[in-house]
């Protein structure tokens, strides 16, 4: 599989990454080289193999339903680029 310019643009949009027009060919080349590398996988028949998401095939542990966190707003918002009245501010959202 090989990516063309418009596919690179589509992926960049899905990932919300601004990419300079002039850099797109280089990205396309790099991505195509990587895809060529990973396409080796397609030569192996894995139809009988169960996918492995966790190397220990471990299962989820449960947490007791208890409130353990207290208000840390001031501390947690110290890094925020823009806040007002305790809210994080972003450019106007149109629904």
């Amino acid at each position: 599989m090989s990516l063309d310019r418009s596919e690179v643009e589509k992926i960049a949009h899905l990932a919300r990454l601004q990419i300079n027009e002039s850099d797109i060919p280089e990205y396309a080349d790099n991505l195509n080289n990587i895809l060529a590398l990973v396409d080796q996988m397609q030569q192996v028949d894995t139809s009988a193999v169960e996918p492995m998401a966790n190397p220990l095939d471990a299962v989820q542990r449960l947490r007791p339903d208890a409130v353990t966190e207290t208000d840390q707003r001031e501390n947690l918002q110290a890094n925020a680029p823009a806040t007002e009245d305790g809210l994080f501010l972003v450019p106007k959202v149109i629904e």
Partner: protein
């Protein structure tokens, strides 16, 4: 003082040969003057370090000291450290002062260790050379024209340059073992789930694992004693007792069965690395081990599987960096779309963007089965190779890397060539196994690492195997001539 190991420094503190404040001040001075040559630190935490050292001295005087109380170390800048910038090597987090401690940092604080600062790393741990750091590459103390490896290159360089006795690292596809090999130090990647990932900024969640980097196996054991353990805040953390990793270091190796995968000794491998590794194996035979050739037939597939799974997880893990709640935000965003795209376009470097794009593509509609699910199936095949091999042997050995440290800039334009350098380390992450790298010689004057791979939760055994080698040889004591 800087030539002493962690164990020796702990001893000196315990018997009052020097105070933690004296030790800390002397290492801070050394870092201040020497690190301009290596760029191994992103942040040096002078004030916090001295405050911790003072507190440690009080604890030591009160007879309340733990083994690492008062010992200065450094942390990879991927571990969130309360009140300290935690950048993950990225412009995206250049202004991020972590408001909480990673579980690993918390553990070292409880142990009374002193944090000298945060070490350089590839941006978001994506890289094998440290060249993707927003702060410029860390340099290899053995040859500052060369890379120290990555992504934990700053920790490796700092330990190799004797700026710190030990440091933490993280390893997703070899990021502890490969820089350890390239800088001639000892590094351990524990079993997946052994060390908490809470507060360790995620690259690829199912592969990431924190671990120690030091000059000796003995020091790695001391570090791991603090780092390892169950953490209820991490769902992938394993609820299992932690042994004393220092207890069995001296156990004899008689009868140890070593497996040598034929796939790790063929193909494009530097001949001097080949011979250094062969010599190390002979040393093990002299220590009572037996050697057997084994096969890990799916080795070649580990790179393709890894370069799907890791970017896929990363593409999702890094979506939180959106300029809304913390971190970099682009100037004067016109609308929401502009905020996202420019923040992320400007805040992430090229390698990170490349991997996000690969991962996004691999997960997108129509490709999920062919890429992501396929890679997860191959991942199981790779793990099954190891399970089969460990039926016959206790430990698997081979070179950590096919080549010694390469020149800065040599591979930056060819990501695939860089990825291929990870061939021997990646499988270990895919299978969740513990792996170590120890120095076993030189190739063209550059350090060579031997990789030891153990069964799940066999960290104590690996440390024992590494320690016995270091008792019998002196490769781990070698330092760059100008250090």
């Amino acid at each position: 003082m800087h030539n002493k190991t962690l164990a020796e420094l702990a001893q000196g503190l315990a018997n009052g040969a020097f105070s933690s404040v004296e030790l800390t001040q002397s290492l801070l001075d050394r870092i201040t003057t020497e690190d301009s040559r290596y760029n191994s630190f992103i942040s040096i935490t002078h004030a916090q370090a001295l405050a911790q050292a003072e507190a440690a001295d009080v604890r030591i005087k009160a007879g309340d000291a733990a083994p690492l109380t008062g010992v200065p170390i450094a942390h990879k800048d991927i571990f969130c450290t309360d009140g300290v910038r935690t950048s993950c090597g990225s412009k995206m987090l250049d202004n991020f002062i972590a408001p909480y401690n990673a579980t690993v940092i918390e553990a070292f604080n409880r142990a009374g260790a002193v944090n000298l600062g945060k070490t350089n790393m590839d941006e978001f741990a994506m890289g094998s050379s440290n060249e993707s750091s927003f702060y410029g590459p860390a340099l290899n103390p053995w040859d500052t024209d060369r890379v120290p490896g990555g992504s934990s290159g700053g920790s490796a360089a700092a330990v190799a340059a004797r700026l710190v006795p030990a440091a933490t690292g993280t390893d997703t596809g070899g990021s502890i073992r490969q820089p350890a090999a390239l800088t001639g130090i000892t590094g351990l990647k524990p079993t997946y789930g052994r060390v908490s990932r809470y507060g360790m900024i995620a690259f690829a969640s199912s592969l990431d694992q924190g671990g120690p980097m030091a000059r000796t196996a003995e020091d790695c054991a001391l570090m791991l004693n603090v780092m390892a353990g169950f953490d209820p805040k991490d769902s992938t953390s394993i609820e299992r007792d932690v042994p004393d990793y220092s207890a069995d270091l001296d156990k004899p190796l008689d009868g140890l069965k070593i497996g040598l995968p034929k796939e790790y000794f063929s193909g494009d491998i530097d001949p001097e690395i080949q011979s250094a590794v062969q010599d190390a194996i002979k040393q093990y035979e002299a220590l009572g081990a037996t050697v057997k050739e084994i096969s890990l037939p799916n080795t070649q597939l580990c790179i393709p599987a890894y370069y799907i799974i890791a970017p896929a997880e990363a593409s999702s893990n890094l979506s939180r960096f959106d300029g809304v709640r913390y971190g970099y935000r682009c100037e004067d965003p016109q609308d929401l779309e502009d905020l996202y795209k420019r923040t992320r376009g400007e805040g992430f470097g090229d390698e990170v963007k490349r991997r996000i794009m690969i991962g996004t593509y691999a997960l997108s509609a129509g490709y999920y089965d062919a890429y992501y699910l396929k890679a997860q199936r191959i991942r199981r095949l790779i793990q099954q190779d190891f399970v089969a091999a460990f039926n016959d042997v206790d430990v698997i050995m081979g070179p950590t890397t096919p080549h010694p440290a390469f020149k800065i800039g040599e591979k930056t334009n060819d990501p695939v060539a860089m990825y291929l350098e990870d061939i021997f380390t990646i499988s270990v992450n895919l299978a969740g196994l513990p792996g170590m790298s120890i120095p076993v010689g030189f190739a063209n004057g550059l350090p060579v690492g031997l990789q030891l791979i153990g069964k799940h939760f066999d960290e104590a055994r690996l440390l024992n195997i590494a320690h016995k080698f270091q008792q019998a040889t002196d490769w781990h004591t070698k330092a760059p001539s100008d250090v």
